[in-house]
């Protein structure tokens, strides 16, 4: 992983150089602007940093961020991220580099709650306001808001959906988590097990991680199916986990027989839902995360409005409701009709 951070630093240096050259003529920045009360006039440059690039989810966050920037006007989104969620150190460096680069604000999703807390503090100390999306830090300063999904509540509901789909009787179920140790993962795992506790007829017989790799998700699901021929249901907790689990179930010839409750809404997940391989998807609103993050940051910078946290909500998508207007606005977000109303 050291390699990634090395690349990152290299790219950040290049980016910083580019910014210096470009900024030489435009950047007249009021250094008090980031602090409390002061406001910034003129064009804004806001860094938006996902946990990692490479997934549909984060591309939608980006679309939301860019939409808010476009609607606000005269705002540039600097989008950059590490290539693996596990590259915590790389993200720390990236945040520091954006502070050095003197962006007007940073909107980001922490790859690790504890490890990124000092990075947030460093930015605030340098007068760069921070807003968190998707995953916050621990501790999180009061002036830093979090625009995120309530993962725990969503996962409790996933357990309920699974229980509902399986009905009466004893059933063996499995959990495909993604990144043990990451906060989002922990919240979904805890929420799901909490939800399972409400349904005494569901027994958790397997729990393995995919490390957000479809190949690995497929492999562990195949092995869980081998070890538990009577497996009735699976909760897969993110996009690659869902895709790998669905493929393993299909390869075992058990499509539709093993109920899969998934999370997120990549195109192949939607296709799986329509085909009946996947029973339901817990869909977050990443567009809204990016949108809220940038929108509130811009208001804060221009008008001094304090930023306050908000739950960006989840939608439970099934074959029945997938074509409804409300669900489609979340699934196919566009800046013409942004799914950001409360």
């Amino acid at each position: 992983m050291a390699i990634d951070s090395r690349t990152r630093s290299g790219l950040a240096v290049l980016a910083a150089l580019a910014a210096l050259t470009a900024g030489a003529c435009v950047e007249v920045r009021d250094d008090s602007g980031g602090g409390d009360g002061g406001t910034v006039d003129g064009p804004l440059e806001i860094a938006v940093v996902p946990k990692a690039v490479g997934h549909e989810f984060w591309s939608t966050v980006r679309a939301g961020a860019e939409c808010a920037a476009e609607l606000a006007g005269d705002v540039t989104v600097e989008w950059d991220g590490v290539s693996a969620e596990t590259d915590v150190e790389g993200q720390v460096n990236l945040i520091q580099n954006f502070v050095t680069q003197e962006v007007d604000g940073i909107v980001y999703a922490a790859t690790d709650a504890a490890a990124l807390a000092p990075a947030t503090q460093h930015a605030l100390d340098a007068g760069v306001p921070v807003a968190m999306i998707d995953s916050g830090t621990d501790p999180q300063p009061d002036e830093v808001p979090l625009y995120a999904t309530d993962n725990r509540a969503g996962a409790v509901e996933a357990a309920n959906l699974l229980a509902q789909a399986l009905g009466e009787g004893e059933h063996d179920v499995a959990l495909i988590e993604f990144q043990p140790g990451s906060q989002t993962n922990t919240e979904r795992v805890e929420g799901f097990t909490e939800g399972l506790a409400q349904h005494g007829n569901l027994n958790l017989v397997g729990q393995q991680p995919s490390h957000s790799d479809v190949n690995e998700a497929r492999r562990v699901t195949e092995d869980i199916l081998t070890a538990n021929p009577d497996l009735a249901g699976i909760f897969a907790a993110n996009e690659p986990s869902v895709l790998g689990a669905a493929q393993a179930v299909e390869a075992a010839g058990k499509s539709g027989e093993v109920v899969i409750i998934g999370w997120d809404a990549a195109p192949d997940e939607i296709a799986g839902l329509r085909d009946g391989q996947i029973a339901a998807l817990v869909v977050q609103n990443p567009f809204r995360m990016g949108f809220f993050g940038v929108q509130n940051m811009v208001e804060h910078l221009r008008e001094g409005t304090p930023m306050t946290s908000a739950d960006t909500g989840v939608t439970f998508v099934t074959r029945e409701n997938i074509d409804s207007e409300e669900v489609q606005a979340v699934l196919e977000p566009s800046c013409d009709n942004p799914p950001v109303g409360q």
Binding site: R219, T226, D268
Partner: protein, 349 residues
């Protein structure tokens, strides 16, 4: 493994003769015998561990020794085995390839894109993926053999540049919406055998033949034993070393395509950390990072050992954290026993 009957003339002798023409034939024979024995010893150690693990898992889980599970293990091992074979060739030349994960991802996403956007068949896409891998290998080879960069550095650069290219090409989003036929390579069957397993077997047999039965194979070992001696004995080192990286790159491209086909999508994040798995497989199987040693059979055993540990752990629902510790312990144990036995062999020799 027939040890002393191997028809391959001892590779290190090819290099050694150039510098030590005074050494007696008897000594050379003894050295040759020792090299062969030590390769066999590593394979023996790893194979024993594999057998012990097989027996233990068969007792621990009623589901382990079933046709379905063995079928799964075969398919699950295919990609890592193909890429570990490539890594072995490079390790024998005293090199290392850190870029295999990134290049596999690059080949996989390019293979997926040409199917989705240009309507290529899966077989045409495989050819493209192999070409992508070979091109990356050519760059590695030219940097190492031509520009004389250390393999670690050259492939470190490729690891970074390759991953970057993957993100540029895909816009950092998975390549989806592929036709069903895209899965043939990774999920299809041929005469009841998973296609991926058949491909792996063909790659392994072909590579083993190349390394043990051809002049090119001799050169590979000779370069790894002593690059300078190989050069002085008239081997076109630059050309042959580059060729090794091109060939390995082509196999990595093939592996990346099998992986993409298996999950019916081009995954930009595929293969992060894969280089460590395949290096582990090669080392467990007896390849030496000091060059000149390593065989395909050993590497296959190493790859299976890792895959079986992972498979068994899931069957028994052992947490991932323990799985990683177990793989670490196996690497230590395999190399320790290996060196222990080699030392005994040398003491006797």
């Amino acid at each position: 493994m027939p040890v002393s009957r191997s028809p391959r003339p001892d590779p290190s002798a090819t290099a050694a003769t150039a510098v030590e023409s005074v050494t007696g034939a008897r000594d050379r024979f003894r050295e040759s015998l020792r090299e062969h024995l030590s390769s066999a010893v590593s394979e023996f150690t790893a194979a024993t561990a594999l057998i012990v693990l097989f027996v233990a898992l068969s007792l621990a889980s009623p589901h382990f020794l079933t046709a379905d599970n063995l079928f799964n293990i075969g398919s699950q091992t295919a990609v890592i085995a193909i890429i570990a074979v490539a890594q072995t060739m490079i390790i024998i030349t005293k090199g290392i390839d850190l870029s295999v994960g990134a290049v596999a991802a690059l080949a996989g996403v390019v293979g997926a894109i040409v199917v989705r956007d240009l309507g290529f068949t899966v077989w045409e896409a495989t050819a493209v993926a192999v070409g992508v891998g070979a091109s990356a290998g050519l760059v590695n080879g030219l940097l190492i053999a031509g520009a004389r960069l250390p393999p670690f550095i050259a492939t470190l650069g490729m690891m970074s540049a390759g991953r970057g290219l993957v993100f540029i090409i895909t816009g950092a989003v998975g390549v989806y919406s592929l036709p069903e036929s895209f899965q043939l390579l990774g999920n299809g069957e041929i005469a009841g055998v998973p296609f991926a397993v058949a491909v792996t077997a063909a790659v392994a047999l072909g590579s083993a033949f190349l390394l043990s039965q051809t002049r090119f194979g001799q050169y590979v070992y000779a370069m790894g034993s002593n690059m300078e001696a190989a050069r002085r004995s008239g081997i076109a080192v630059r050309r042959h070393l580059t060729a090794v990286y091109v060939l390995a790159g082509a196999l990595v491209g093939l592996g990346g395509m099998v992986a993409a086909s298996r999950v019916n999508s081009g995954q930009p994040n595929y293969g992060i950390g894969l280089e460590l798995d395949v290096i582990a497989a090669a080392v467990i199987g007896g390849a030496s990072l000091f060059g000149g040693q390593g065989r395909i059979a050993g590497t296959l055993i190493g790859a299976f050992l890792i895959a079986v540990v992972r498979n068994g752990s899931v069957l028994l629902d052992i947490s991932i954290h323990y799985q990683q510790v177990i793989v670490g312990l196996i690497i230590w144990a395999a190399v320790y026993f290996d060196q222990f036995r080699r030392r005994r062999l040398e003491a006797r020799g």
